[in-house]
Assembly symmetry: C2
C-alpha cells in the first residue's frame, strides 16, 4: 500500500548509472533557476513603496530613484556572478567560493546563511503566491495557510520525482509569467503613450517631500534589494547544465538579469505613474493589473501566472538546498543522511527537510512571511559579500589575464553587498536580529558534527595488523515471559548456536499464582534447559534483566565466552497490530544495546493470522 | 538527566506491594471525585440562560423552572447511583454494569462514551477554569490556550505521582470553592432579605414571554443538564475508598448531591434575581460575584477558587479514565499497554493518553470548548441510561428484598437519562452529531482489537506435548560496510557461535574504486573468512541483502541449520550523535525482521569518545 502510493507519487526508481541524463538545457534552466529572481518582482516594488508610505503618499516618488539604484546593483552583481561561474564550474556557490578563498569559517557562514535562506525562499514565495491567489479570489483568504502548505507539499513531491521531470513541467508557468508581465508593461506603456491611462502619480518626481530623510531612502532602497535575491541560484547549479556547462550557465544568467531589470523597472514605473499605494488586501502587482487590464480575464490570468511563478520560485529552493546540504555533508559538517540519494536520484532527505522547515515557518508566521523579507535579504547578501570578496583573493592568487579588471568587478559586487548588509542591520534591525541568534547556533552545530565524524573515523580505523580472537564458547540467555510456541522456537534456535543456554524469567508481585504456573509449565516443557527466575518489586522488567545479564557477561569474559541475549517476540500479520503488544521486547533491546560485551539478538515468531 | 527530572517530577518508584495504602477517606474522596460535579455549577446556569437568551432577556426567568427540573433529576440519579455502588463495589461504573446486564456491545458503547467523555471533562473544565482566570484578569485573555495547556500538564504530572498524594493536595481548592460559594449564596440571600440588593430581574416569574415554546424550554433545560455530569465518578471509583468501601462511597455521593443541589439552585436564583445575562467576556458566575461582593478581594477569591476547582475537576477525568481503560484492556478491548502500572502505581499510559487527547481538543477548539458541552452531556447520559436500565435487569435476576422498589428507582433514572439523550439529539444536533461518527469507529476498534488478541493467544498456545528440535548447525551472515574495529569484533563474535560464517558486502555503482578497496582490505585482514560481494544498481542496501539472505535461509532449512544475520553497528557515546550516522543498520534490522527462519542479531561496538 505504502509502496504503491510511493511509486505513484514519486515514480519508479532510477539506476545510479542513469544519472548523467538529468541535466538542463538553457531554456529549461531559465525556468528552473531564474524563477526565484524573476518572481521577486511580485513583492520587490511593494517593499520599497511600503517603506516610503510610512512617511506619506507623496514620498512614494522616491521609489523611482531607489529602483534605479537596485538596477545598477543588479548589473554589477550579474557581472561578478558570471565570473564565479567561469572560475568554479563545479557549483556549490558561495559556500565553495568562500571556503576555498577565505577559509572554513567564512564558508560555513555563507553555507549556513544559504541553508536558512532557502527555507525562507520557499516560505516567502509560497505565501506570496497564496497572496496572489487571495487577491484575485478574496473568499479564499481564510484558507491561506492551508493553501500554502498544500503548495509546499506538492512541490516537494515533484522534487522527490527528480529534477529533469520537474523542469519540463515548470517551464510553462515561468514563461507564462514572462508573457503576462511583458503584456502588462507593454499595454500599460502603450496606453500611457496614447493617453488612455491618465497620469495620476501621488507626487511629481523631484517634488519636495516634508520629512524625507536619507535614512528613509536607504531603508526603502535596502528593502527593495530583496528583488535581487535568487540571482545566485544559477551559479550554484552549474553542474546541472548541459555541456558546455559554463557558457550555458553564464548566458542563462545574463538573459535572466536582462528580463529581471526590465520587469522591475517597468513595474516600479507603472506603480508610480498610476499612483498605486500598498494596502493589506491587494498586492501592488494586482492593483497595477486591474488598472492596466481592467477587472477581467487578463487580470485573473496575471494573478494566476504570479501565483504559479512563485510556486516555481519555491522550487528553486528545492533545487539548491539539497545540493548545498550534500556539499556540507560531504565535508562532514552536516549529517551523512543528506548524502543519500533517493529512488529518483534526488537527495530525498534534503528535499524533505526543506519542506518541513518551510511549513514550520509558514505556521509560525501565520502565512505573513512578508515580515521575513529583510531577514531573507540579509541571508542572501552575507554570502554574496563573502563569495564576491573571496573571488578577489581567487584572482590575486591566480593572477591570470585581466586579473585586475576581474577583481574590480568582484570588488564592486562585494562592496555593494556589504553596504546592503550594513543597511539592513542598521535600518531593519527589528526584523533582522534572528540572524545573530541562528548563525552562531548553526556554526556551533557544524563544528560539533565535524568533530564527531573525525573522532569516530579515528576510533574505528584498524591500526596494526588485524588478529582475530578465538572465543572458547558462547552463552545464550533466552528471555521467557510465558510458555508458548515463541518460547519453543527461541530455545531451539539458542541451542543451535550454543551449548550453554539459560532461560530467564522475571516475575512480579502482582500475580504470584500465575508466575508460579509459568515456572512450572516451563520446567515441564523443557526439563533439560537451565531456568532462572528473577524477582522484581518495581514492575520493571528492564532493571533485573540488565543486572543478571551483566553478571553473566562478567563471568563469561573470564571464561572467554561470548554472551548473547535472545529476545523472543512475535510479529503480528499486520503492522498496526504491533501497538497492541507491550513494548517490553523493544525496551529490553534498547537497554541491552547499551551494554558492552553483550550481543542482542531477536527471535521473531511470525503469526499466520 | 532525564531520569533525574523524572524523579523530581514524579517521585521515587513505589513497590507493587505498597499498593493497598493508596486508598481514600471520605473527606479526600469528596475532593477528588466530586469536583467534576460541583464545578459544573460554574457553567450549568450559564448554559440554561444562554439558550433562553436566544429568544429574549425576558425569557430568562424560565431558568428557574428549568433548574427545578434539573434538581429533581439530580435526586433521582443520586438514588439510582447509590444502588449501583451497593451492587457493584468493584467499580468500573457504567461499563461494568452495562456489560454484565445488557451484554458486551452495550458495555462497549457505555465504555467508549465515557472514554471520550473524560477527555471532554478535562478539556471543558480546564478551559472553563481559564475563563474564570481571564474574567478576573482580562489582560491574560490572549494567553488562554497556553494557560489551559499548562494546567493540563500540571495535573498530568500530579497524577503520574500517584493518587493519594494528589488527593491531599487537592482537598484545599475543593473546600475553598465550597466555602466561597456558600459565602456568596449566603451573603447574597442575606442582602436580599435585608433589602441591600435590589430586585432587578429581567422579567417576573410567570410573566408571559412572546415566542416562548416548549422546544426552547426543553433546549434550555437539556443544556442545563450538563450540571449533572460527574455524578457517576464516585460509583466508578468505589475500590479506591477506605473500608467499608460501599458505605463510604454511598455517603460521599449523598453529601455531594446535597451540596450540588444547593449550589445549583442558589446560583440560578441569584442570577435570576440580579437580572444577570450571559456575555462573551465575563462568566455568569463572576458577574454574580461582582454583584454580591463588589469588585474587591472577595470577587478575586471567588474567581481563584472557581479556577482551582475546575482544575481539580479535570483531575476527576484523570482518576477515572485510566481505571476504565484498564478495565477495557483487561477484557482485551484496548491495547495491553493500558494495564501497565507506572513507577508510582498509576496507570501511566492512560494518564498520558488522556492529557494528550485533552490538549488536542483544546487546540482544535481554540479554547472555546463550551461548544462541546452538549456533546459532553450526550456522552454522559448514554452510559447513564445503559447502566440504570442494566440495574433493572440486575434486580430482576436477583429478585432479592425490595427488588421492585429498587427497580423503580433505577427505572426512573433510566427514563430521565434516556429523555435527556433524546432531547440532546433532537435539540442540539448541530453540536452532538460527532457522537454518531466517533462511537461506531470506537466500537469497530474495540472489536478489532479483541479479535486480534483472541487470535494471537490461540496461535501461541502449546497444543500437544512439547518436543525440542535439534539443529545440525548454524550459519551466520555478517554484514560488512567497511573494514574497521566494528567488523573485526563482529567476525570474532560470529565465529564464537558458528562454524559457518559468511561476510557479505553490498557495493554500488557510485564509487567503484572505493568499493574495490574495501573488498581487498577485507581479504587482506581476514583471509580465512568467506566473503561475498553483492552489487546494487539502485542505491538500496536492503533489497540485495534480503535476496541473498533468503537464498541462504532456504539452503539452511534443507541442511537443518539455523540462520543468523549479524548487523554490526557502533554506538556513539552520546545519544544525539545517533542521528549523524546513517540509519542503514536500523532499516536492515526492520526489513530482516519480516523474514521467517532468519534471526536478526546486532553487534554493538561502543565508542569511547
Amino acid at each position: 500500500m505504502y509502496r504503491y502510493l510511493k511509486r505513484l507519487l514519486i515514480g519508479e526508481p532510477l539506476k545510479t548509472a542513469d544519472e548523467g541524463g538529468q541535466s538542463l538545457t538553457k531554456f529549461k534552466a531559465l525556468a528552473l533557476l531564474s524563477s526565484d529572481a524573476l518572481s521577486s518582482v511580485a513583492y520587490g516594488t511593494e517593499q520599497i513603496t511600503t517603506a516610503l508610505l510610512v512617511l506619506s503618499a507623496a514620498a512614494t516618488w522616491y521609489a523611482l530613484p531607489a529602483a534605479g539604484i537596485v538596477l545598477v546593483l543588479l548589473f554589477a552583481i550579474t557581472i561578478s556572478y558570471r565570473q564565479i561561474i567561469n572560475a568554479y564550474p563545479s557549483g556549490g556557490g558561495a559556500y565553495v567560493v568562500a571556503t576555498k578563498n577565505w577559509g572554513t569559517s567564512a564558508g560555513l557562514v555563507a553555507g549556513g546563511s544559504l541553508l536558512v535562506d532557502y527555507m525562507l525562499t520557499v516560505a516567502v514565495s509560497v505565501t506570496s503566491g497564496t497572496e496572489a491567489i487571495t487577491s484575485a479570489v478574496p473568499a479564499l483568504s481564510n484558507q491561506s495557510i492551508a493553501i500554502s502548505v498544500i503548495i509546499v507539499l506538492f512541490i516537494m513531491t515533484l522534487n522527490l520525482r527528480g529534477m529533469r521531470e520537474s523542469a519540463s513541467f515548470l517551464t510553462v508557468p515561468v514563461y507564462f509569467f514572462v508573457v503576462m508581465i511583458v503584456a502588462m508593461i507593454g499595454w500599460g506603456l502603450f496606453n500611457i503613450a496614447t493617453g488612455k491611462i491618465e497620469y495620476s502619480a501621488c507626487a511629481h518626481v523631484g517634488q519636495a517631500v516634508p520629512g524625507m530623510t536619507m535614512i528613509l531612502f536607504l531603508k526603502a532602497f535596502s528593502a527593495g534589494s530583496s528583488s535581487l535575491t535568487g540571482v545566485e541560484a544559477i551559479s550554484n547549479a552549474v553542474p546541472n547544465f548541459k555541456e558546455p556547462k559554463r557558457k550555458n550557465a553564464a548566458n542563462t544568467l545574463a538573459i535572466m538579469a536582462v528580463i529581471l531589470g526590465i520587469f522591475f523597472g517597468g513595474i516600479t514605473f507603472l506603480s508610480y505613474y498610476l499612483g498605486i499605494l500598498p494596502n493589506g488586501k491587494q498586492t501592488v502587482l494586482s492593483q497595477i493589473g486591474i488598472a492596466v487590464f481592467g477587472h477581467g480575464l487578463f487580470f485573473y490570468l496575471l494573478q494566476l501566472s504570479t501565483a504559479m511563478i512563485l510556486a516555481v520560485a519555491a522550487n528553486t529552493g528545492f533545487s539548491a538546498f539539497p545540493i548545498l546540504a550534500y556539499n556540507l555533508a560531504k565535508d562532514k559538517f552536516m549529517p551523512h543522511m543528506f548524502m543519500d540519494k533517493g529512488d529518483r536520484l534526488g537527495y530525498s532527505n534534503g528535499i524533505i527537510s526543506l519542506a518541513v522547515g518551510a511549513i514550520v515557518l509558514i505556521f509560525i508566521f501565520h502565512g505573513q512571511t512578508n515580515l521575513l523579507i529583510p531577514l531573507y535579504a540579509v541571508g542572501v547578501f552575507v554570502p554574496f559579500t563573502l563569495s564576491q570578496s573571496g573571488m578577489i583573493i581567487h584572482w590575486y592568487r591566480e593572477r591570470g589575464r585581466h586579473w585586475i579588471l576581474n577583481s574590480f568587478f568582484n570588488l564592486l559586487g562585494a562592496l555593494i553587498s556589504l553596504a546592503l548588509v550594513v543597511f539592513l542591520f542598521f535600518l531593519h534591525f527589528s526584523n533582522v536580529w534572528p540572524y545573530l541568534v541562528i548563525m552562531p547556533l548553526l556554526l556551533f552545530a557544524f563544528y560539533k558534527i565535524h568533530a564527531h565524524y573525525v573522532a569516530v573515523a579515528a576510533q574505528l580505523r584498524l591500526s596494526e595488523e588485524q588478529q582475530l580472537h578465538n572465543y572458547s564458547g558462547s552463552t545464550v540467555i533466552v528471555l521467557v515471559s510465558s510458555v508458548t510456541h515463541v518460547t519453543t522456537g527461541a530455545i531451539n534456535y539458542a541451542r543451535s548456536i550454543s551449548e550453554n543456554v539459560i532461560a530467564m524469567h522475571v516475575s512480579f508481585d502482582a500475580n504470584p499464582k500465575k508466575e508460579h504456573e509459568t515456572v512450572n509449565e516451563f520446567k515441564m516443557a523443557f526439563p533439560d534447559v537451565r531456568f532462572v527466575d528473577l524477582h522484581s518489586s518495581y514492575r520493571s522488567v528492564v532493571a533485573p534483566v540488565i543486572r543478571f545479564c551483566d553478571v553473566i557477561a562478567k563471568d563469561s569474559v573470564n571464561r572467554n565466552y561470548s554472551v548473547t541475549v535472545l529476545v523472543p517476540q512475535f510479529v503480528p500479520k499486520k503492522p498496526w497490530q504491533n501497538i497492541l503488544h507491550n513494548q517490553t521486547s523493544f525496551r529490553l533491546r534498547q537497554a541491552l544495546g547499551s551494554r558492552e560485551n553483550i550481543i542482542v539478538s531477536t527471535y521473531s515468531y511470525h503469526l499466520k493470522k
